[in-house]
């Protein structure tokens, strides 16, 4: 670790301690703990969404706005199957499979047609796809109160007087595990190497004979599985509303930006920090109204900080 990195970590820890200490000042420890635990669970979901985006972006150059909609379609399918009395684990699997199928369909049939277009065009195309999925889901399932409950919601541990459900623990540890797993996959496997190669230079990778379609399909597949898992967890922990799950992608983008669309560990830390700060802001009467913009303020601050000392010139960046 370089000296600059050490300084950055120290600054991050000091800032978080300052912000959390300030927001929680004068509140009982249990109340602070409740907000912290709640924020970590929400932050884990932001991070999971962001991780899926970064994996795909690194392999294909597509910033996928449709992962939330794919997760929403999966979650609604799981709910419907549960209503029909299907065995619960099969409904959870269906959620992931539906999100996977939707994401793969886009990645296999639509994304290649836009492969040589600008990144903005590719991103906006996925946004359009997200709105189509959301429209279809809203058409199939009219607005009605619904909920998904997992058996792990009933199980929990007591930690310093607060109850943390196993579902929240699953989400938190899954986000860490997925980051480690994907890092290992990218670093240790041939496909991972090919993905990194594609991310580095798509044209050169094609000339070298890397099977672009296959590698990209795998990346879309990973993204789809993550979208399904995140959608299911979001439906359980937050709420089962297609619109809300679809637009979960917005704070996920902020988390991905914290990792500069590249570093998965930073995406995880960014997502968790956003969730915690967003929740803790509730404790401030003056700032609670700013909760929805908190992820973007954090992402903007991170971007500004990471760009310090550089300037754009006609020749590029100095």
């Amino acid at each position: 670790m370089t000296r600059t990195q050490l300084w950055n970590w120290a600054l991050y820890i000091a800032l978080m301690a300052l912000i959390l200490g300030w927001l929680g000042w004068g509140k009982p420890f249990k109340i602070q703990g409740l907000f912290l635990a709640s924020g970590l669970a929400v932050g884990s979901l932001y991070a999971l969404g962001g991780i899926g985006m970064v994996v795909l972006f690194r392999a294909s150059g597509v910033l996928n706005f449709s992962s939330g909609a794919a997760g929403a379609a999966g979650a609604m399918t799981a709910w419907q199957l549960a209503e029909w009395g299907v065995w619960p684990p099969a409904t959870w699997l269906a959620c992931i499979l539906v999100a996977l199928a939707i994401t793969l369909a886009y990645g296999r049939f639509l994304a290649p047609r836009l492969a040589w277009r600008e990144p903005v065009v590719k991103a906006v195309a996925t946004l359009g796809f997200a709105l189509i999925i959301l429209g279809l889901v809203s058409f199939l399932w009219i607005d009605d109160p619904r909920s998904i409950t997992l058996p792990t919601d009933k199980m929990g541990i007591k930690f310093l007087g607060l109850r943390i459900t196993v579902t929240r623990l699953i989400v938190f540890f899954a986000s860490i595990g997925i980051v480690i797993g994907i890092w290992a996959f990218l670093a240790k496997t041939a496909i991972g190497l090919q993905m990194r190669s594609l991310a580095n230079d798509r044209d050169l990778s094609a000339l070298l004979g890397i099977p672009i379609l296959k590698v990209e399909t795998i990346a879309w597949g990973i993204s789809g599985v993550l979208a399904g898992f995140t959608g299911l967890m979001f439906a359980d922990l937050i709420r089962l509303e297609p619109t809300v799950i679809t637009f979960m992608v917005i704070p996920s983008i902020a988390a991905a930006i914290c990792g500069r669309l590249d570093n998965l560990a930073l995406v995880l830390i960014g997502g968790l920090s956003m969730g915690v700060i967003e929740n803790m802001l509730t404790l401030s009467n003056a700032l609670k109204g700013a909760r929805p913009i908190a992820p973007f303020v954090i992402a903007a601050v991170v971007l500004l900080y990471s760009q310090r000392g550089t300037r754009l010139t006609f020749g590029g960046r100095e």
Binding site: S138, P145, S147, V244, F247
Partner: protein, 418 residues
């Protein structure tokens, strides 16, 4: 939705077995002549909001069913009602366009069964300027109740909150309430403030925890309410958000630490199954119109009208009851008018303002309009408790007691309704 339809069928069946006339009888509408109306239609409008994330079309669906029934039964002195429905899609621009189309471009004589979060705030001025009356049915914001040309059969969040809080204070011993509302000034803040004022007027206290509609997570608002020192939590939210709050509270096992109360949005037949066994017997909900098991003659006629003239998938819920009532009161008023005046918007508006003393077993009190800058005829209701498979009535029709209603009670006294 299928559950709702199935339950409504069950309710109808219960009505039949209870000795009611329900399905056995034909629906009763308007002049009830049994002959189809013909001739020049009388134009009536209606605006609802239906787009993600909410559908407020149940009231206009029910009103349309009633008007279709009226048209099949003699219409208004032989003339049919042409009911034109617009959708604001929760978009202020579209709401303004819908009102302009119905009020300025079409010779509608009134608007009936409007239901929206948006359109009343946007169009209250338009209605006043054109002096067209709106007999709304699914109102949720202050402009709907504090405007000269809008009157609604439903209560909206403010009276329903007051009813729930009043019950909690009198029956559950509530002294300090935390109201979890939407961070929308003319909805959540407006209605939570009234509940807090009621508590303070009666020696208690209260606070509010607001959920920003743009924020997906409800847990922090729940935690804010929990940390306020309240003994009672008022979930002043649409059903979907209320469900999410109850789920988050279950996660923390908070049921026994608080009284749990809610206004009408939690009176939805799919809720008892959705909240699960954990909450059965512990959540008290105010019902602004008659709960389904009351099943009086008008409730049975409403179901008969819906079965005969509405689509099977149209909801049979509180907003549908409110839509039916608005359409029914409007039709009765039109039938009482001089047939030569029913196309005259100004005369129809005057006739609507003169409505008073209309009763129905779906409502606790009389329906009236009056000439005022505010209208809230429905300020009495029921209290129910969520139990397995449905709701149990824990308090029959009762008037809500709050200084907010002082001007309304004064108006009622002036109209001879007290």
């Amino acid at each position: 939705m299928k559950l709702k339809t199935a339950l409504s069928a069950a309710i109808t069946l219960a009505g039949v077995t209870a000795g009611g006339q329900a399905l056995a009888a034909d629906p009763m509408c308007g002049a009830n002549t049994g002959e189809a109306a013909s001739g020049d239609p009388i134009l009536v409008g209606g605006i609802h909001g239906n787009a993600a994330p909410g559908d407020f079309s149940a009231a206009t669906d029910a009103a349309k069913a009633y008007f279709d029934c009226v048209n099949a039964n003699g219409g208004i002195n032989g003339r049919p009602i042409e009911y034109i429905i617009e959708n604001d899609q929760w978009n202020p621009e579209l709401a303004a366009q819908a009102a302009a189309k119905l009020v300025n471009d079409t010779d509608t004589v009134a608007l009936v069964a409007n239901g929206s979060f948006i359109e009343m705030a946007v169009n209250a001025g338009t209605y006043a300027e054109a002096d067209i009356m709106v007999m709304a049915s699914a109102c949720a914001i202050s402009e709907c109740f504090e405007s000269s040309n809008i009157v609604s059969t439903n209560q909206g969040p403010l009276p329903s909150n007051l009813g729930a809080v009043m019950y909690a204070r009198e029956e559950l011993g509530a002294e300090n309430i935390a109201c979890i509302g939407l961070n929308i000034p003319n909805n959540g803040i407006w209605s939570c403030e009234a509940a807090i004022n009621y508590m303070e007027e009666n020696g208690g206290t209260g606070s509010m925890a607001l959920i920003n509609p743009g924020a997906p997570d409800v847990n922090s608002a729940l935690l804010e309410a929990v940390s306020s020192g309240a003994d009672t939590i008022l979930i002043n939210q649409p059903a979907g958000l209320a469900l999410a709050i109850l789920k988050a509270a279950e996660e923390q096992d908070l049921r026994d630490a608080f009284n749990w109360i809610a206004p009408t949005p939690l009176y939805d037949l799919s809720i008892p199954d959705q909240v699960g066994e954990y909450w059965h017997g512990d959540v008290y909900v105010n019902a602004e119109l008659a709960p389904f098991q009351v099943n009086g003659p008008d409730a049975q006629n409403w179901i008969a009208v819906m079965d005969a003239y509405a689509r099977p998938e149209d909801p049979r819920d509180t907003f549908a009851q409110a839509g039916y009532l608005s359409a029914k009161f409007f039709t009765e008023m039109m039938l009482e008018m001089d047939p030569a005046d029913v196309d005259d918007r100004a005369k129809v508006a005057d006739a609507i303002r003169a409505i008073k003393g209309k009763t129905s077993d779906l409502m606790c009190g009389p329906y009236y309009v009056g000439d005022a800058d505010f209208h809230m005829p429905n300020h009495a209701g029921y209290m129910v408790k969520i139990i397995e498979g449905g709701y149990e009535i824990v308090r029959d029709c009762y008037e809500y007691d709050s200084s907010y209603f002082d001007p309304h009670l004064k108006l009622e006294a002036e109209m001879g309704l007290q």
